[in-house]
């Protein structure tokens, strides 16, 4: 690969507090060689045709986005998504790293499945895929999965996501056992005793629609339980997709006490309220469910003040077969990789976040949260990059998406910002439109 010079971009690298128009030079090994103003002149005279120049004026150049929570459905449910189609969606959304959940078929509860996922991701070459192993064998919540072997094979965390670990004793042991491996237990917090056949958040909207609801407390009691267990065991709890005001507050207090707890929030939970369910559109059905405005505001505040470590999409593709049915029967989940940037920039537009903060929540902080290399643009770092136009707009057309599934509640929305180019270790994995970078 030739050296590549990304020239004249607004470089936003929150890890170093950098937000300035400059150039970025990528070496033949796909790593950052240099960042600074005037590199074009320097390299132009020295290297001549050896350097490919990518003009970037008007674009933001940031570390490629890192998503700690996606469902890629392979192996087993390739009709919904594959590692390749999910990787394409990730690249189109500006992501260079995604962590994929274990609820495949078969479940990623042993090292051979972990290795299979890594091999398929390497073949696809569209983004770095880091597998998350199951906490319990078969995600049945009965006994621990092969945590140590999966860790050795490359798993970055452990989760029965999609299902809560209802057995407190098993959760305690998982938090204890994973300490040795320095990996988080990622918890889908939902007390199923407080709502088993629910379809949405329990509140005035569920009452108006006549849909069975689950209260916010079902999330809160599990967050509280797991914080206590993390505190006692010294284990690392990562709360997946936090969605209620009280859970955010529980996590804030726990962090203040020094409990090892981290968390993430999804774009749909910081954007939509439970009012979006009116009309019974099954693309508004997910777990946890959309919450009332007070919870949404608390999630936004948690992102702004750093209580919530990062944004994660919980990209959860489902086919029409699972979604074009009665609301109560519809599968939980929405896709999110291609709308994450726009919805996050929505928070910037609304004045809740600065641009650098938004980039941090999508890149720097998720990488740091899981200890993943990436999310920074210093010399020597991986040249995992995203170039986006913050002033362009994206009209969301689910049919034009790169995912194999179309279950988004944002179809027809106009979102701020457009990804123009995504770069993985120096190579383009997505190049948006002909006018990119001009």
């Amino acid at each position: 690969m030739r050296k590549r010079l990304f020239s004249g971009a607004r470089i936003v690298d929150p890890a170093r507090g950098l937000d300035a128009v400059a150039d970025l030079l990528v070496g033949e090994d796909g790593r950052v060689l240099d960042v600074g103003p005037g590199l074009r002149r320097a390299t132009g005279s020295a290297a001549g045709g050896e350097v490919e120049v990518v003009p970037c004026s008007g674009l933001v150049l940031a570390p490629g986005f890192v998503d700690l929570h996606v469902h890629l459905r392979e192996p087993g449910q390739e009709y919904k998504e594959t590692i390749e189609t999910g990787g394409r969606a990730a690249a189109a959304g500006g992501f260079t790293t995604v962590c994929c959940m274990a609820n495949t078929q078969p479940v990623n509860d042993n090292a051979s499945i972990t290795r299979f996922i890594l091999e398929r991701a390497a073949e696809a070459g569209l983004c770095r895929v880091l597998p998350i192993g199951a906490v319990s064998a078969g995600m049945r919540g009965e006994r621990l999965a092969d945590i140590g072997e999966m860790r050795a094979a490359g798993a970055v965390g452990f989760s029965d996501d999609g299902l809560p670990v209802m057995d407190a004793h098993l959760m305690r042991r998982a938090l204890e056992y994973t300490r040795t491996f320095g990996a988080p237990v990622i918890a889908h917090e939902e007390d199923r005793c407080l709502g088993c056949h629910w379809a949405m958040h329990e509140g005035e909207v569920s009452t108006a629609l006549g849909l069975p609801g689950i209260p916010g407390a079902a999330e809160d009691v599990m967050v509280a339980r797991d914080i206590v267990l993390a505190e006692d065991t010294g284990g690392w709890l990562h709360v997946a997709h936090v969605s209620t005001a009280r859970s955010v507050e529980l996590i804030r207090r726990a962090k203040e006490r020094g409990v090892r707890v981290t968390t993430e929030a999804t774009p749909h939970h910081f954007t939509l309220t439970h009012d979006a369910v009116r009309g019974y559109d099954t693309s508004t059905k997910m777990a946890p469910p959309l919450r009332p405005p007070g919870d949404v505001a608390a999630v936004v505040r948690g992102l702004a003040d750093g209580t919530i470590d990062c944004i994660a999409t919980d990209h959860a593709p489902h086919s029409r077969v699972e979604k074009e049915v009665e609301f109560e029967l519809a599968a939980n989940g929405v896709i999110g990789l291609e709308t994450a940037l726009g919805l996050t920039l929505g928070l910037v537009r609304a004045g809740h976040l600065g641009l650098s903060q938004a980039v941090a929540l999508l890149s720097t902080r998720p990488a740091a949260c899981f200890g993943i290399e990436g999310g920074r643009l210093a010399p020597g770092d991986r040249a995992d990059l995203v170039l986006f136009d913050p002033d362009a707009e994206l009209l969301v057309d689910p049919a034009q998406g790169h995912s194999r599934s179309r279950n988004t509640p944002f179809g027809g929305w106009t979102l701020p910002g457009r990804v123009r180019r995504t770069v993985l270790l120096g190579r383009d994995t997505f190049s948006g439109v002909p006018d990119a970078g001009v």
Partner: protein
């Protein structure tokens, strides 16, 4: 005075004038139903499919009689004969039925939102005969018709609905309709069966039956279902205790106004939510409700099929 909708999915969708239009037309049909010869040719050549995917004898019969009184052809799909049990999706079932070109599909389903789903997917009219805990618009309309006949109007009146509000589409549709027409609505039952945010629909929640029925012009009792306890919802300990706390009997009736009207959407659990003396007593308008059910359903079918507009066009032609 108009009703220009293709469907009748829920009371929540309707403007006050649309509700009044449906009630006024039902009034006309009610008179018709008292004549010796009850059949009119209004919907001759039209066809109605009753798609009942949840057991119901009463509502289905009421819709069927309503359609036949207007000379529509009716077809019934549901229960064991439906393909829903064979793994076909609801939308496939509905699209297949629509391919046979009915004018109206009357649908009952145990899940909320199903009538809306069909109304959106199908070009023909859809009437909601009850979708889960969501709405049962024709029940609320027949209740309103019954009350309007007895009370003259709704302004300043208080209606108390007692029972399992959480799992009741009848309660939801009635709360919305009655408050929209100017009545005050109280809901009463164990706190476990009062859904959160019911106030947002316009109702006031009451804990105790005696407070709830005091000064009420109308008390509407809802059926209490043993299944709710059996399914482990932990709503109340047993029907005996429920009956003691929330049942309407001659003793509790002493707290009510002497001219109070007692309603029940049926089927009645005698001795549980209502004692036989009250159900059959002078306050009871339960059988009026059933009679009005046919008239209201005739009105609903008449309006969603645009028969009102067709008749108006004929009328304009004749006037010219």
């Amino acid at each position: 005075m108009s009703f220009a909708r293709k469907d009748l999915v829920g009371i929540a969708d309707l403007e006050e004038h649309e509700i009044l239009t449906l009630l006024d037309t039902a009034e006309r049909f009610r008179e018709l139903n008292e004549r010796p010869i009850k059949k009119v040719p209004t919907l001759r050549g039209r066809s109605v499919i009753h798609l009942f995917l949840e057991p119901s004898t009463r509502t289905r019969t009421s819709f069927d009689i309503a359609a036949k009184r207007m000379s529509a052809d009716t077809f019934s799909v549901g229960g064991v004969t439906s393909s829903a049990v064979k793994g076909e999706t609801l939308l496939d079932t509905a699209r297949n039925l629509h391919a046979m070109r009915p004018d109206v599909i009357v649908v009952r389903h145990k899940m909320a939102g199903t009538a809306a789903l069909l109304a959106k997917a199908l070009p023909c009219s859809v009437i909601n005969a009850g979708d889960g805990f969501h709405e049962h618009p024709t029940q609320a309309l027949l209740d309103a018709l019954t009350l309007r006949q007895r009370l003259g109007g709704f302004e300043g009146r208080t209606v108390t609905i007692v029972g399992d509000i959480a799992h009741s589409r009848v309660a939801r549709s009635n709360v919305i309709l009655l408050t929209r027409l100017g009545a005050r609505v109280r809901v009463c039952g164990p706190r476990t069966l009062i859904p959160p945010g019911i106030e947002a629909l316009g109702a006031v929640a009451c804990d105790r039956l005696r407070d709830a029925i005091e000064d009420a012009d109308v008390v509407m009792m809802l059926r209490i279902q043993q299944e709710r306890i059996d399914q482990g919802g932990h709503y109340f300990p047993n029907t005996r205790e429920y009956s003691r706390l929330y049942g309407l009997n001659l003793d509790t009736m002493r707290r009510a106004r002497p001219d109070v009207l007692v309603m029940h959407p049926g089927p009645v659990n005698r001795g549980v939510e209502i004692s036989p003396e009250v159900a059959d007593g002078p306050w009871s308008v339960i059988l009026d409700q059933v009679t009005n059910g046919v008239a209201v359903r005739m009105s609903a079918m008449y309006h969603v099929m645009g028969a009102d507009r067709a008749e108006a066009a004929v009328q304009r032609g004749a006037d010219r």
